[in-house]
């Protein structure tokens, strides 16, 4: 199939769907690195015209990555629900955008649509949407998940408390944990990125959070973000594991570069379910969502795993949306795009990171995912805290489920900047948002008061929080 559009007598042609999608993508360094970005601004808009006229049905037949060689494609095709797709089956990509922005696209209809959408359709429509479109549509979609807290309700914004430490030191982690809890952080998850990818470290850190959580009755869930096989080994050692984490991507080859596949994710999901550690949430139901996935544009390209039919390269935003198909298969508690972590070769500056954050949030929500965002950048990107403030404010308006809470926005283990406990207070206050209902209740009553009072005593706050076990 050949795609083309004429602008003032000049015919722009695109040899295949993958090339059309790439050319239609707003500019970012990663697509330029892959050699698939539009060659001119005019060509980009020509591609967007073609894309807007393309029937959504095309994406069900013209597959970007072959069914035979890619299990993510098989998952997308095999789980596509044509009944849910029916209401929009006759639309083009451009008409789909118009419908999404119309009053017909109610919250209920958008939620019902998700199983009928493929990542490629969602990526395509996002390419012809402006930032305000991405915000407006996403803000209508509420994806609510539960474990011990309820995340994603209207009027709520949750945070992952991220108390990382460069040597996994328990006291150092506890200090950041206490600081964050007192500032109202941690209602999405208390999640540590460990330096050491070992079952013993995972077990030790999970037990530590568990002890604090039980002592102060904190309605929260924990996670240590090691490789899934390491977490499974920790489960076998008896670790109190709440959420099971894994980084995922949008092609089988990219997932393979992470050392995972769908079978392993399924095995992990089942193992974590048997632990039955969810709590009774505010609505009286038991929390059952327990997977935690992280994604980010550029991961497939960085693993040289971004090729599709006949070796055609797929753009990074479409591949990112495909990762969401992997995620939604496991009814996750949390999904977030670690948008600026990967670096300037994929998202060069604040402008590109901003657009990507809003795209990822929109695509994830439209596909039915509980999207959060690690609003972040590295020191070799052309970005700074002003850019993060802008993204935070935009995502707050878009109804993001959760953001990160990192002490002072400075992650001293992963060497990047994210959002701080104070940043979360800013956006909650600005938009009048509350934490998850269970966590809000905890903050209004006895639990946090005891934590605060222990911290206020003349003795070392942390000695009252935890008691160190002497070596040997």
């Amino acid at each position: 199939m050949d795609f083309g559009h004429t602008i003032r007598g000049i015919r722009h042609t695109f040899p295949h769907l993958a090339g059309l999608m790439a050319s239609a993508t707003p500019f970012r360094s990663g697509d330029a690195l892959a050699g698939i970005a539009a060659k001119s601004a005019e060509e980009r808009v020509a591609a967007q015209y073609v894309l807007a006229d393309l029937p959504l049905k095309v994406f069900l037949n013209d597959l970007l990555i072959p069914y035979e060689t890619d299990e993510v494609t098989r998952l997308i095709v095999d789980t596509h629900d044509s009944d849910s797709f029916a209401p929009i089956a006759s639309l083009t990509v451009g008409e789909f955008r118009d419908w999404l922005l119309s009053d017909s696209a109610t919250s209920d209809r958008l939620v019902a649509l998700a199983p009928g959408l493929t990542p490629e359709m969602v990526a395509a429509v996002s390419k012809v949407m402006r930032i305000q479109d991405l915000i407006k549509v996403a803000s209508r979609i509420r994806v609510v998940t539960r474990f011990r807290t309820t995340v994603g309700l209207p009027g709520r914004l949750s945070t992952r408390l991220q108390p990382n430490h460069p040597t996994d030191d328990a006291a150092g982690i506890a200090a950041s944990l206490l600081d964050g809890l007192l500032l109202g952080s941690g209602d999405a998850v208390i999640g540590i990125n460990p330096v050491s990818d070992s079952p013993a470290t995972v077990t030790r850190l999970l037990r530590m959070i568990e002890a604090v959580r039980e002592r102060y009755g904190i309605p929260a869930q924990s996670c240590v973000l090691a490789h899934i096989t390491t977490q499974l080994a920790a489960i076998e050692q008896g670790a109190p594991l709440d959420l099971l984490f894994q980084s995922i991507a949008g092609s089988e080859a990219a997932n393979s570069s992470f050392g995972v596949n769908l079978g392993l994710l399924k095995e992990g999901h089942e193992a974590a379910q048997t632990l039955n550690r969810g709590g009774t949430c505010a609505d009286g139901t038991m929390g059952k969502n327990l997977m935690y996935f992280e994604t980010g544009q550029g991961s497939a390209l960085s693993a040289n795993a971004h090729r599709g039919v006949n070796g055609a390269k797929i753009d990074q935003q479409t591949l990112e949306a495909r990762a969401y198909a992997v995620a939604r298969h496991f009814s996750p508690m949390l999904v977030n795009t670690v948008v600026g972590f990967i670096g300037p070769e994929y998202l060069y500056d604040g402008k590109q990171i901003t657009r990507a954050a809003l795209e990822d949030h929109f695509c994830g929500k439209l596909l039915g995912l509980p999207m959060g965002c690690d609003i972040c950048y590295t020191n070799h990107a052309e970005a700074d805290q002003d850019d993060m403030d802008s993204i935070l404010t935009l995502l707050g308006a878009a109804g993001v489920n959760y953001i990160m809470g990192v002490p002072g926005a400075d992650d001293i283990m992963l060497n990047y900047q994210s959002t701080s406990f104070h940043d979360a207070l800013y956006i909650r206050s600005l938009l009048r948002l509350q934490p998850a209902p269970e966590f809000e209740a905890w903050m209004r009553c006895d639990g946090i008061a005891r934590l605060r009072s222990d911290a206020a005593k003349g003795i070392d706050a942390l000695d009252s929080l935890v008691e160190r076990r002497l070596p040997g």
């Binding site: 328990a170 006291a171 050491s196 992470f258 020191n379 990047y416 509350q434 076990r469």
Partner: protein
Amino acid sequence: MTLYPDQGDLEVESPSIALPEPAGLASRLRALTPARVGLSRAGESIATQELLDFQLAHALARDAVHAALQPASLISNLLDLAGQGAVPEFGTPLLLHSAARDRTTYLQRPDLGRLLALESRERLKQLRRDSSFDLALIIVDGLAALAVERHTVPLLKALLPALSQSSPPLRMAPLCVVEQGRVAIGDEIAHELAASLVVVLIGERPGLSSPDSLGAYITWRPRPGQTTDAARNCISNIRLGGLAYDEAASRLLYYIQEGTRRQLTGVGLKDPDALQLSIDREMRLES
């Protein structure tokens, strides 16, 4: 649908946050971690002093990214190390360059940072002998030349004597120093040198609190252009205030020995738990 149903209830304040921090808590927390805990506030935001401290740290990190490696002094220090005895023979260090011409190119073209420049590749090809090597040690500037200049020599000082006691003796490839390189450039170099295990010491992304952090990547039988990150083991945060040299050297030794013995690295080779325990302080709650 109403976007924020709670909007009508304007009297609802965020719970608890308005209370002042317990006295003295900030300094107690700061004694336990280099993280930015216990920050002074202006309302719910951070105070001016904290804001400026952050801006300064970011400025230093930005400058660190763009600093260039000084290879002459590094190689001279490595030669001094070789002269101190009790280290395996590693030959004259080779200075190599990636295909990324300069810093600006390097930052936008990681693919070029993974490939050797033509002249460097030719040089390695000429050097290749009939024999193969057990280990190639490759020092790469990465994103923080400062980290390489500060930590490589002390780390090797802790590592090399242990390696020299290997039995049978370890056959070490010539030490390589690479400018404008990424981790995977070690794959091509190891391949050219016919080394079965490669250790890449590389400057990590500068963080605000750590503009000079060194990382180590260990890969068994790397295949240029094909080896993925899942096939590597990584030791991160080697710096003062991070992972100490002795500890990093112990872990490196473990990966070198176990990787060689089991002929694999990556997801299939887990962290050394026993070593882990020696640096971590265990904590538990009062019952």
